[in-house]
């Protein structure tokens, strides 16, 4: 074989360098986050930092639990609200709905996915929060007020508002991945069920859903990853108070929100470092979640031909 000309080798090498630069970017992210947060880990200690409940930068007190708690609670609300709606939407678009409606609905979901998060925050702050305060939260209090989740003053700004705005924002992610997953279900499975006399819903429940379940879990995890890291909309509606409350109506705080609010005006090296440490925690959680979701989705799509259309 003729040795490849210099031009080819240069091209291959150049392209490989650019491909490798992705790994460099990942390395840089890890190094920078580690480097910036090392002071916090050393001075505060991993455990004390993560389970501490007192956050008072002026007195050098840095306990991250209120932010971890707020992030988890709002993301849980978001997932609980978004998964049923997204799966319903995905089933409507790929299985149940009339064909003429599918294109406009799919377009609307694309539009929803393209809206910048600061605009969601603006809408949340001036439209959704007043509505929660005046209508939804009092109604929840009247009907479900026996649960500690739905007690206390109804301010509007708080965990519930943040969770619901997150639900709207992660809906397109979950729905579009679920639609892709539903496409991998082998057609003969469903056709078999229909031929045996199953109604459309029975065919979906007995063949499509069991087959697609791991993929739908993967889609939900991708949505969860987005919810954990979403910053602007949450910052604008969560109330920004570094406390832990059982009630969903109470104002709280989240990991990305505290970084957004305090980083630019951090009062000292330890404060900056503590915020970077929160970023590293967030990075670790989202990377693990995403990696797991990718693996789940790969196992679903591997080995099966995609259904045409």
């Amino acid at each position: 074989m003729r040795p490849s000309p210099a031009g080819d080798r240069a091209w291959a090498a150049g392209v490989a360098v650019l491909g490798g630069s992705i790994l460099v970017v990942a390395g840089l992210i890890l190094l920078e986050l580690g480097g910036e947060s090392v002071l916090a880990w050393r001075r505060l200690g991993l455990l004390r930092f993560l389970v501490g409940t007192d956050w008072d930068p002026v007195q050098d007190k840095f306990g991250a639990l209120p932010f971890v708690y707020g992030t988890l609670v709002t993301s849980a609300v978001a997932i609980l609200a978004a998964v049923p709606v997204s799966v319903g939407l995905a089933l409507f678009l790929s299985e149940m709905g009339p064909k003429q409606l599918r294109r406009p609905v799919a377009f609307a979901i694309e539009v929803l996915a393209a809206i910048p998060s600061v605009i969601f925050g603006l809408w949340g702050l001036f439209v959704m929060v007043p509505w929660l305060r005046s209508t939804v939260e009092p109604a929840l209090q009247r009907t479900l007020g026996f649960l500690p989740l739905f007690r206390g003053p109804t301010i509007g700004l708080g965990y519930l508002a943040a969770g619901l705005i997150l639900a709207i924002m992660i809906l397109p992610t979950i729905a579009s991945v679920t639609i892709e997953v539903l496409k991998t279900v082998p057609l003969p499975l469903k056709e078999g069920a229909l031929a045996l006399g199953a109604t459309r819903w029975e065919a979906i429940r007995m063949t499509v859903l069991p087959y697609a379940r791991p993929g739908i879990v993967g889609a939900a995890l991708l949505g969860l990853g987005r919810a954990l890291g979403e910053t602007m909309a949450v910052t604008m509606v969560i109330g920004n108070s570094p406390d832990i409350h059982a009630s969903l109506f109470a104002p709280g705080y989240s990991l990305p929100a505290v970084i957004a609010n305090e980083f630019a005006e951090a009062t000292g090296d330890l404060h900056v470092s503590a915020l970077a440490a929160l970023g590293l925690v967030l990075f670790g959680i989202t990377v693990l979640l995403n990696a797991f979701a990718q693996l789940l989705l790969k196992t679903v799509s591997r080995g099966f031909q995609r259904r045409p259309g």
Partner: protein
């Protein structure tokens, strides 16, 4: 076994529930779009696009410097991200079948899920901390980090869509591999890649979180990369969380401007990709 009527009822019930999912998803979208247009349109005027922000209580004023700043940030980000993202995509498509390719692909997927606020911290450490100054460069770098993974993924997809016969025909004519990649493959995939670039730019233009402590903000015009700069998104955020009524109105109008910008980029991408598909057919 339940009766046929019951089964048909259950079928209708779940069909309705999936329809309810559609309604629940569309309602907030409709409300948001309507309010941004209805609340924002009132403040729209030529000077809103061209003038500096006015102090509280003073009439007039606009987001001209924010629009300019967003364009500057997106330009800096594109200069960094386009070669890297597209190059990495070509790598994945041409040499990505081995173990190295799998690793790069996996890291790309994972990077696209990293929260943008975390990317902001990284850009702060890389640029702001070293230059001891907030700057458009830092903001642009953060946006570039956000653009690279999506660009790489979609470039790979579009390069792989190019029929193998095209490459073989070119190689058979004695064209070197590198010229084939550059002049045949990339040229054929160009429409798709431009679509991907437009979508990535639209996403970057709408980012706020990574700019808060990199490019910060600026009350005045700035086009220098080493200076802090205003951006449309940070202005919306600051106006929205302020206690002043007239700043809230400005937040809505600025949101309308941002929505128009992002919508225009998305529309352009859609039109381009539709044309390309018609050609392919």
């Amino acid at each position: 076994m339940s009766s046929l009527k019951w089964r048909k009822f259950v079928n209708a019930f779940w069909t309705a529930m999936s329809g309810a999912g559609v309604v629940l998803a569309i309602l907030p979208l409709a409300s948001l779009l309507w309010l941004v247009v209805a609340q924002g349109a009132a403040g729209l005027s030529w000077s809103f696009f061209t003038s500096l922000p006015a102090p509280v209580g003073e009439p007039g004023g606009g987001v001209g410097n924010g629009i300019a700043g967003t364009l500057l940030l997106v330009a800096i980000a594109s200069v960094i991200a386009l070669p890297v993202g597209i190059g990495a995509g070509v790598f994945l498509a041409e040499q990505g079948n081995g173990r190295a390719g799998a690793a790069v692909r996996f890291v790309t997927e994972v990077l696209s899920g990293v929260p943008s606020i975390v990317i902001g911290i990284v850009a702060y450490g890389l640029v702001v901390d070293r230059m001891k100054r907030f700057s458009a460069l830092a903001g642009g770098l953060a946006l570039a980090f956000i653009m690279v993974p999506t660009l790489a993924r979609s470039t790979e997809e579009f390069v792989r869509l190019v029929p193998g016969a095209l490459r073989e025909a070119s190689l058979a004519l004695g064209v070197p591999k590198w010229k084939t990649s550059l002049l045949v493959i990339l040229r054929t995939a160009a429409g798709g890649i431009i679509t991907a670039v437009l979508l990535a730019v639209a996403r970057a233009a709408g980012e706020t979180a990574p700019l808060l402590f990199t490019s910060l903000n600026n009350q005045y015009w700035n086009l220098r990369p080493d200076q802090p700069t205003a951006s449309l998104t940070v202005q919306i955020f600051n106006y929205a969380i302020s206690p002043y009524e007239d700043w809230h109105a400005k937040a809505w109008t600025a949101a309308l401007v941002l929505l128009l910008l992002v919508g225009l980029l998305n529309l352009l991408a859609r039109v381009l990709s539709r044309n390309r598909m018609e050609v392919a057919r």
